[in-house]
């Protein structure tokens, strides 16, 4: 599904990622944890193709294609989804209209016809329920005037409608109360599928008690310094990140 090899990336000439290695297979759920400034969010932005980050070296293959040869919209259409840490407001653009355009762009890229309005409506209603998104938010402009919790639910709602192959969730849990966190986790768990992979980026272990990962990675200063099973998250919770500060890349 995704293979990251020796990835180096910088922002405004400051190196952030310093040789990231990671492989994600189909159906796997990976979590990357790490302290603030370790490069977790940078990794998600680089994978999605944010132009404010510069890839210095390394290679990423996504479903057998060289990711860095694809512009961001092609990556999205090929099934790479990023749930934003800070979802962006798009005034004037109706949320479900936006999703329909997104869905149809992916379908067009696969040579499929546009989704018919009835199926689309059905899908949208059903998935909104999955994440507990209020129906009224479907007709409102994308994220405009949404509360913090509503914005995060809306990201998971987009994920549920677009059905990507790989979903990267960048600190989706931050700033959520317990009910919203549960709703978000329910949505993600519903979307788990042998053909769909997840990369959860989080600061806290909390999310991982709702979404059980197959693998946990610890990122420190732009490198993955330790990888393990879900028990690693518990260890982190006990010892904190300080214990990993001195470790070199695994």
């Amino acid at each position: 599904m995704l293979r990251i090899e020796d990835l180096h990336a910088s922002v405004a000439e400051t190196p952030i990622l310093k040789g990231v290695q990671l492989s994600i297979g189909p159906g796997e759920v990976h979590a990357i944890m790490g302290p603030n400034g370790s490069g977790k969010s940078t990794l998600s932005k680089v994978l999605a193709g944010d132009e404010s980050y510069t890839v210095e070296s390394g290679r990423v293959d996504f479903e057998g294609q060289n990711l860095f040869e694809m512009p961001p919209e092609e990556r999205a259409r090929a099934g790479l989804f990023l749930g934003f840490q800070y979802p962006v407001e798009i005034p004037g653009v109706n949320n479900s209209y936006f999703l329909k355009a997104a869905l149809n762009a992916a379908r067009a890229a696969r040579g499929e016809p546009e989704i018919d309005p009835v199926s689309f409506l059905k899908r949208v209603r059903e998935r909104a329920q999955w994440v507990g998104l209020d129906d009224s938010l479907l007709k409102r402009p994308v994220n405009a005037g949404f509360s913090g919790g509503e914005k995060k639910r809306n990201e998971i709602f987009h994920l549920a409608v677009l059905e990507p192959r790989l979903a990267i969730l960048d600190e989706t849990d931050s700033g959520l109360d317990i009910d919203a966190l549960r709703a978000v986790a329910d949505g993600v768990n519903r979307m788990r599928d042998p053909q769909r992979s997840f990369l959860l980026i989080t600061h806290y272990q909390r999310l991982l008690s709702y979404i059980e990962p197959d693998y946990v990675h610890v990122m420190v200063r732009g490198q993955i310094v330790r990888s393990g099973g879900k028990e690693l998250a518990a260890e982190l919770e006990r010892s904190g990140y300080a214990a990993f500060e001195d470790e070199e890349a695994a």
């Binding site: 999605a48 961001p72 919209e73 999205a76 934003f84 004037g92 355009a101 149809n104």
Partner: protein
């Protein structure tokens, strides 16, 4: 919608975004360039006008000679040589009836996608009801009566007879001068006088055609009325005059569309539109203006200097202007409402899009005279490339206008760091009970917004068009359905490659 890029759009792109830039090779009759009293006599004679009309024109011309072109607007252009313009151009083959219309002319309108070319209606069969078995889409399509004006003359008006049955008069102003001279004489120049401004005076002297609408008392006009204006000939000015009268308790929705071929020289379009709404009457006037904007260096393009004004003469009357302005090298127009009747209402909804070297100085005037008069202004300006745009509006509350209210909102969106947006809202309030609200915003499309859209699989172009359409939505909602779709398409074509 955004995702499917039609062939039309691509063709438009190939022509730097202007898809109506073709020229029709048609035999035309011209007045020689230049302007003096003999030119005016020539035009009046061509149109076989009554003597009073000629006198009216000549007086306007004498007014005009003593006037100077306005300087206060925020646009730059070289002085216009009024002696280099031809003031009359007409297709040579007379448009006496539709059968006689030059087929090339019909082709032109067909290219422009004008419903006029719905052949069934035009083939002379006058088949009003769709035959059984026609596509469902056609039966539900609202019917629109069209008056088409090609350079200086009106070439055809559809649905005339059906309209006449309900007493509605919809014809070219030349015909109105022949068939209903008393109505024209009573109303022409009563809202926009011959001395109103430099270009209105010029228009009064030389106007060659335009549309005339009369809705009798209590009649709700049974269909949308529409005029398409087309400048075709080179070195020609278009000076059309539109006059719409809605008698007590009547209502009408009127649409106007405009295009011109791509030419290297500037073409002058100086129209006058007058609306009169009597007691309880409603007039809705919508414009989609797509005159040729000129090329990237600012060569060519139409100067769109237009005076549009409506008089809410009677109590509880209402006039609503909606405009979508994407074309012209320079636009200045201020569709206005004079709210004379008590409880009358004026509305102005506008989307103006400028790119390349286009300049627009546009807005409205709301003159409150009657008691409890209300007005609403909603202006959306979008600028890209090196374009410059100004919203200029006046809300005037006279001492007689107790209880007047106004709400104004002016929003600008900038798509490049070289373009400009300016807002000049003038308020002149002479009654203490007036309530006025004004809101203004300026926004840009951020890189974060574009990236977010791309991350969902939406291309940058579609993202921009979506966001701009969203920005303009409240205004588009005011347009009749078919026009709203056209306006959206036009916006997409206009904004191709405008962000970068």
């Amino acid at each position: 919608m955004a995702a499917d890029k039609s062939d039309e759009a691509l063709e438009g792109l190939a022509q730097r975004g202007y898809s109506a830039g073709f020229y029709t090779d048609i035999e035309q009759e011209f007045a020689p360039p230049g302007l003096d009293e003999s030119t005016i006599r020539f035009i009046s004679d061509k149109k076989r006008e009554p003597a009073w009309m000629l006198e009216w024109r000549l007086e306007a011309y004498r007014n005009w000679l003593g006037m100077t072109a306005p300087q206060w607007q925020k646009v730059r252009f070289a002085p216009i040589d009024f002696q280099a313009i031809s003031y009359y151009a007409a297709p040579k083959r007379g448009p006496a009836s539709l059968d006689e219309v030059d087929p090339k002319l019909l082709e032109t309108y067909a290219k422009l996608g004008i419903p006029l070319h719905e052949q069934k209606m035009l083939a002379g069969v006058q088949e009003q009801e769709p035959a059984p078995g026609t596509a469902a889409g056609e039966t539900t399509k609202p019917r629109v009566a069209v008056d088409a004006v090609f350079d200086s003359v009106s070439v055809t008006t559809t649905f005339k007879e059906e309209l006449a049955r309900s007493g509605v008069i919809f014809c070219s102003i030349s015909e109105a001068l022949r068939d209903h001279p008393e109505l024209v004489r009573r109303y022409i120049g009563t809202v926009v006088s011959r001395r109103d401004n430099f270009f209105a005076a010029l228009n009064s002297a030389v106007f060659s055609d335009g549309s005339f609408v009369y809705i009798p008392e209590g009649v709700e006009c049974p269909m949308e009325l529409s005029t398409y204006f087309r400048i075709n000939a080179g070195h020609t000015g278009q000076f059309e005059r539109t006059l719409i009268i809605a008698e007590r308790g009547s209502s009408v929705s009127y649409l106007e569309g405009c295009t011109a071929p791509q030419r290297d020289e500037h073409q002058l379009h100086a129209a006058v539109v007058e609306l009169i709404a009597h007691e309880d009457a409603r007039i809705k006037y919508s414009t989609v203006q797509n005159w040729y904007p000129g090329d990237e260096q600012g060569r060519g393009g139409v100067y769109n200097f237009v005076t549009k004004r409506g008089l809410c003469a009677g109590a509880r009357s209402k006039i609503s202007w909606t405009q979508v302005e994407t074309g012209s090298a320079i636009t200045w127009k201020y569709p206005s409402c004079v709210l004379q009747g008590d409880d009358s209402q004026g509305e102005f909804y506008s989307v103006a899009v400028t790119r390349g070297r286009q300049q627009a100085d546009t807005g409205t005037k709301m003159i409150h005279i009657g008691r409890n008069t209300r007005s609403q202004i909603l202006s959306k300006g979008v600028s890209a490339d090196d374009a410059d745009q100004t919203y200029r509006g006046l809300v005037k509350i006279l001492p007689s206008a107790a209880g007047a209210r106004n709400y104004s909102q002016c929003d600008s969106m900038l798509l490049s760091d070289r373009c400009g947006a300016h807002t000049f809202p003038y308020l002149d309030v002479r009654h203490p009970s007036a309530q006025l609200e004004h809101e203004a915003t300026t926004s840009r499309i951020s890189d974060e917004q574009i990236f977010y859209c791309k991350q969902r699989g939406i291309s940058e172009e579609d993202a921009v068009s979506m966001i701009v359409n969203g920005f303009c939505k409240e205004v588009f909602q005011e347009l009749p359905m078919e026009f709203a779709v056209e306006a959206q398409k036009l916006l997409e074509i206009t904004l191709e490659n405008s962000v970068g």
